[in-house]
Amino acid sequence: MNQVSVKRPLMAAMLAAAVAAGWPAAAHHSFAMYEPTKTLTFKGTVKAFQWTNPHVVVWVLVQPDAGGAAQEWSFETTSPGVLTRAGWTRQSLKAGDRVSVTFSPLRDGSHGGGLNSVTLIDTGQKLVPSFGKEQPGLK
């Protein structure tokens, strides 16, 4: 995979209880295994954008603070059908994209999180998973 060229991960843990209410829970399982009151932001490089049911996963290589080899992290979110209604496509992210990912981490310390948003560093475009507007006739 591409060499990781990222800045030190920004470990911005903060209380964000409001995140829980807006959490786009997935179509497959509860997202309660992610800690909704914690929000972290990592910068890294997309390894793969897994556009699959039941869940879409953004795989990111992150350079640890302490140096050493890049770590692989998974950022899980809802399904392709739901994300399409929120404006995403299969092409929204691709391998090699430099990204800043905001997420709620797994409670057990594994390298995974529930995706809150992902921003493409080179363009500034911010992608936020959501269920989309609750109304008929969406454009």
Binding site: H29, S30, A32, H55, V57, G81, Q135
Partner: protein, 290 residues
Amino acid sequence: MHMGNQVIRIALIVAVAGVRLAMAPAVAADATVAGAPVAADPDAINAAPTVKDWQSLAKLPDWSGIWTPVISDQRAQEKSNPPPWTPQVAKQIAHMYAEESAGRPFPIIDHCFPTGMPSWMLITHNAFEILFTPGRVTILGEGDGNRLRRIYTDGRPHPADPDPSFHGHSIGHWDKDTLVVDTVALLPQGYLAVNEAVGVPNNGDMHIVERLHLLDADTLADDLEISANKVLSKPWHTTRKYYRQRAQKYDIAEGVCAQGSFTEAVDKNGNAIFAPIKFHNGVPVGSDSK
């Protein structure tokens, strides 16, 4: 046994109500003869539809398009109108809510089996579409590998001893512009769920009656009556709503649940393959996680 009574009871309901069966072919006429309970005919065939059968579809309400669930209403109803659980089940449910709050959600649909009935209609976040063909209404969903309901509207009764399945055996009829669906033969292991972490297997003998109808031009309602005497103290009445979308970009996406357990890779021969993802407690994690 149970199913035999079920068949007779439903046949009587149909007969007494004298409802107009959609696309009524000859079989349906027999089913509406008062006082003549219909037993499933083991030699019945699916007759070729006639031009008239196809033309009759035009008289049905327009349910075309893609239907997206009103998720905020699902969540509101989870709180305001919970199922009347039996006391024993209520303890399990309370424990599941506590576990979910503690960050240990019970994996009700992590196994990649279909979400099934009635949980699909109750808790899904994904869209579905509804197809009308002679003698049949078909609901095709999104999100798991076989989210598909076949609702027979040709007047047939339930089979005498149907094989249990995740979506059950469904027969339907039209009451003006409302589709009334009767579903039996659901697997006992299928969940009656109120969210993705809270619910119990129905444990058998579940019976669902639905009334699907438009609330306004682009809102579909499903009024459900769920009888599940192994887990509920009385039948549960609840409604779910869905909004219509017509933009083609919202067409149903294929949902093969097992695909989510793999990532795209290339083997040593250059072939495109699926490679397994590392999972921990049911969620994908980085391959270098402990």
